[in-house]
């Protein structure tokens, strides 16, 4: 692996309204430094993808954005959401996570029925209206391209689904909460192309009213769906720009190498 000069980076300014931004975020796992000085603005109602080699810190960074790293890692710096630094100690983290939903790399449905998986958090959130629940159940499953496959088995255990089905269920579960921002960590890495493209369509649709940040290994996916792309390299954000710029004319050598290492 080549080594690059990390001072050489290109972070473009966002012209649009910013939904979420980080300022000098540092992450340490114990003594090991995993994210260095990450400062990014995520534009509202856009899809931003985070790309980079395995181990470059994409997941780590993403998990900071809704405070999922709280107990695992030491996160310093500012994360601004609605003019509030949500990385501060006094913040209500539950409220943060309610507005900033997350879907993980490995599917993690609850050991409950499919229905309960979707409705559990909603009910906890005080939504008790039967009709509303039913409606959210159906639309979220539809949006995650799972409805047709499970509509007759809603009371079956979610654990009996295949890996791909489970992952789509997790996406549905997150969507059902109507979050403001949706974080996805390689959500499609376990999905077949049909489901993947459905999910991508969904994300595209959702981006009309949601801000979406997605980690992906799939260059095509990144270029196809995202408006902005950030390139991670060994814990540093090396380049951040509109996706079309990144993929057609990267400013930095490291980015170019990574993208052209790809197999278009």
């Amino acid at each position: 692996m080549k080594t690059y000069d990390f001072n050489q980076q290109y972070i473009s300014k966002i012209e649009q309204e910013v939904a979420l931004s980080t300022e000098n975020v540092q992450v340490h796992y114990g003594k090991s430094h995993a994210i260095f000085d990450a400062s990014l603005d995520f534009p509202r109602f856009q899809i931003t993808s985070l790309i980079g080699a395995s181990g470059s810190g994409k997941s780590t960074y993403l998990r900071c954005l809704n405070r999922m790293n709280d107990r695992i890692a030491q996160v310093d710096g500012k994360i601004l959401y609605r003019n509030t630094d949500i990385n501060s100690k006094t913040i209500n983290v539950y409220e943060v996570r309610r507005h900033i939903g997350m879907v993980f790399q490995r599917p993690n449905p609850f050991a409950k029925s499919i229905r309960e998986n979707i409705l559990f958090a909603l009910k906890n959130n005080g939504i008790n209206d039967k009709k509303e629940l039913q409606e959210r159940l159906e639309t979220s499953l539809r949006d995650a391209a799972l409805w047709d496959e499970v509509k007759d088995d809603l009371d079956k255990s979610a654990l009996a689904l295949s890996g791909g089905q489970q992952q789509r269920l997790c996406i549905a579960r997150s969507i059902a909460m109507h979050p403001d921002i949706l974080l996805l960590d390689e959500p499609a890495s376990a999905l077949d192309p049909i489901s993947t493209s459905k999910i991508e369509e969904t994300l595209k649709l959702l981006s009309k009213s949601y801000t979406i940040i997605i980690v992906t290994h799939n260059m095509q996916q990144a270029s196809r769906i995202s408006d902005y792309t950030a390139f991670f390299h060994m814990g540093h954000i090396i380049e951040y720009n509109q996706t079309k710029n990144i993929f057609t004319a990267p400013e930095i050598k490291a980015t170019e190498d990574y993208i052209s290492g790809d197999f278009g």
């Binding site: 809704n66 999922m68 539950y94 409220e95 943060v96 996570r97 309610r98 507005h99 939903g101 997350m102 879907v103 993980f104 490995r106 993690n108 449905p109 609850f110 050991a111 409950k112 029925s113 309960e116 559990f120 958090a121 906890n124 959130n125 009371d155 079956k156 255990s157 654990l159 009996a160 997790c170 579960r173 997150s174 909460m177």
Partner: protein
């Protein structure tokens, strides 16, 4: 083929070990049941114990054992649950936790006599409870707590972190995640622990001799007012349990049929535990299926 041979050999060895264990278990249970079951009859189960004439039964002792068990679990389970959750979910990996763990383990290795005497001095004398079911139940709690706590902690830990992340990322509070998602998944394990503890409570004698007492004054099974002296539910009355009864019959009894009573009581005890185990297992499975909606 060396590896395969050693696999065969090891498997054979394990079968051998299990065979010995099983024969010990079967012989032991067989011995107790063979000696005891012929003397069990309806009369034995439903009549009072006799102090020096033959023909006594174990009605009160049996009830006392069950009542004490329920009471002890009611007291110890919530505490153990809280402590178990603390250890698996909240405790940080530092010296404070180390001290907590060590003290819990020390508690679990205290000899029952010591716990009994401590209970006697603290509960019976100091807190003026007298020889009573309540004092007995609290003394049993001392035993139970470490076992239950440990078991609950481990059951909770065995639930994958992915589940915690799922709950957390949906904005659920840690508490909700634990109680509604992690706990149901840990339930079968917790239940096993509960059964094991119940077994120990059932068989415990030394700690109860000094706390719940070793006499079973006759009580009125029609009296549901637990604040009256004669009520069978009164937690402040002394109560000899089945295990204590066995101990007493074996050591100081002058009844002519003491050995029959002792074997029959042992058999009854084991049968009750068996019923309890199977029942709890069945219930646990049903509960698990219901809570997780798996088929």
């Amino acid at each position: 083929m060396n590896a395969k041979k050693s696999d065969k050999l090891a498997t054979g060895m394990i079968y051998g070990l299990v065979g010995i264990v099983v024969s010990i278990l079967v012989a032991l249970l067989g011995y107790i049941l063979y000696n005891g079951v012929p003397d069990i009859n309806w009369h034995f189960l439903t009549s009072e114990a006799q102090s020096f004439s033959a023909g006594g039964g174990v009605r009160d002792q049996l009830f006392n054992s069950l009542y004490l068990l329920v009471l002890a679990l009611i007291i110890s389970f919530p505490i153990a649950l809280g402590a178990g959750i603390y250890l698996s979910e909240y405790a940080k990996d530092n010296w404070v936790t180390d001290i907590i763990r060590t003290s819990i383990e020390v508690l679990s290795s205290l000899p029952s006599v010591v716990v009994g005497l401590f209970g006697y001095l603290l509960l019976v004398i100091q807190l003026n409870m007298g020889f009573s079911i309540l004092a007995g139940a609290i003394a049993l709690t001392f035993f139970n707590l470490p076992l239950l706590t440990r078991n609950i902690e481990e059951s909770l830990r065995s639930v994958p972190d992915l589940q915690r992340e799922a709950g957390t990322s949906l904005g659920l509070s840690g508490w909700k995640t634990i109680t509604k998602i992690i706990l149901p998944m840990a339930l079968p394990g917790i239940l096993t622990g509960l059964i094991l503890c119940s077994g120990r409570i059932f068989g415990e004698a030394a700690a109860l001799i000094y706390t719940a007492g070793q006499s079973a004054p006759s009580v009125d099974y029609g009296n549901w007012n637990l604040f009256t002296e004669t009520s069978f539910l009164n937690p402040m009355r002394p109560a000899e349990t089945l295990a204590v009864h066995i101990w007493k019959v074996n050591t100081e009894s002058v009844t002519p049929d003491s050995s029959a009573i002792s074997s029959a009581s042992s058999a009854v005890l084991i049968i009750v535990i068996l019923i309890f185990n199977l029942g709890a297992r069945y219930l646990g499975n049903k509960l698990f299926k219901k809570m997780t909606a798996s088929k």
